[in-house]
Symmetry: C2
Subunit: 195 residues, 2 copies
DNA sequence: ATTTGACTTTTTTACCGAAATGGTCGAAAA
DNA sequence: TTTTCGACCATTTCGGTAAAAAAGTCAAAT
């Protein structure tokens, strides 16, 4: 079976799509645009994907998987849970920044009734919440952390990340990003009360 | 001077306006609606206010002042900075919840190009950041807190609050609100690292 | 197995007059 | 003098519609 070629073209289509989605958003990008960018006829897209939505989901999924594998690879070499959280935050925010165009495109369309985009967001919010919760639980089990209510704490932490994320979409202050992450982590680990 | 009556009518107009803005948002509320609600002719509104925007700003200002005075009154009887922060968070979030209709209305219109609403939001974001910063500074000066970079920490904290605020607009989980505030404050004060 | 042009169906756009809306002004009421 | 409002204007929104553009289908060609 010549699956290779098939996959290669599929991949090239997704790359074209990602570029365009990041630049123009979901709505403003047409199937024709994607096809042209990939030097194919529009109809060909439907040989590889069943719909525009599916293409978009595939693009997002690819980036999500890429992110997850970066995280997994990075964290598996780290023993200290605290350090894992540090790395997670740092990679997470920088990755977000790199993809901010795509995210911004999502965000714009997303408050325009595109409920399938909202579903995608919720899906990943849930996943992130779960991931954070697992990290915290592990830290507690290893006696590194001391947390009364892990569920609420995870939620607070996930919310805090999203709060940090929001202004990044608007003005891209790359300068302060690391400082802000540090500040958040410093609070998270040690709090502000003097001892 | 019979300023009393003037002020009374003005107030009644603002009450009508607030009700309607909270229900329908800025755009869907017409000057006629406000006038009818207050049993006046539309033209009369312009005797008390110069424009629709001004009415909206006045409504928001009233609520903001009300909030500030609640905060001031509550905090001035508290000596402990930590306790002040607790109270601030609690009142802040509950107040937000009470006004969530108005906020939601703002939020909807706000991503619809109403840049004057965006300005209002930014204004209050700035004020909140400043307020938080002052609280932290006071805590540090009184040797209650130990914070490396107050600016970044304030920013992180303000972001965290806004992150917590966001899901409240969507689903109104009153149940978990207090727990989540507690979780956030617990992190803020003591961190999660075991000692 | 892959591509595409011709085709159908659905969605968006452009445009129009009508209605609604924000805002003004001066006369009238209080 | 202070307050109210009807008549009025300018601009924006709305409803409906025809044309354009887009998504999606399919069978023939490669």
């Amino acid at each position: 079976m010549k699956k290779e070629k098939h996959d290669k073209i599929r991949k090239s289509l997704l790359e074209s799509a990602e570029q365009l989605f990041a630049r123009f958003g979901f709505e403003k990008t047409t199937m024709n645009d994607i096809a042209n960018e990939a030097r194919k006829g529009k109809s060909s897209l439907y040989y590889y994907f069943s719909s525009k939505e599916e293409i978009f989901k595939a693009v997002v999924t690819i980036e999500a998987e890429r992110f997850k594998s970066i995280i997994t690879e990075t964290l598996e070499n780290i023993d200290d849970t605290k350090e894992q959280i540090k790395q997670y935050f740092s990679i997470r925010m920088h990755r977000f920044q790199e993809l901010s165009n795509l995210y911004a495109a999502m965000r714009n369309d997303y408050l325009r009734k595109l409920d399938f985009i909202e579903k995608i967001r919720k899906q990943y919010d849930r996943e992130e919440l779960e991931f954070i919760q697992n990290l915290l639980e592990k830290g507690v089990n290893r006696d590194e952390f001391e947390i009364k209510n892990i569920t609420d704490t995870s939620f607070a932490l996930a919310s805090a990340i999203k709060g940090l994320e929001y202004p990044m979409v608007l003005h891209k202050d790359e300068t302060n990003l690391d400082h802000r992450i540090d500040a958040l982590l410093s609070i998270l680990f040690y709090g502000i009360v003097k001892r």
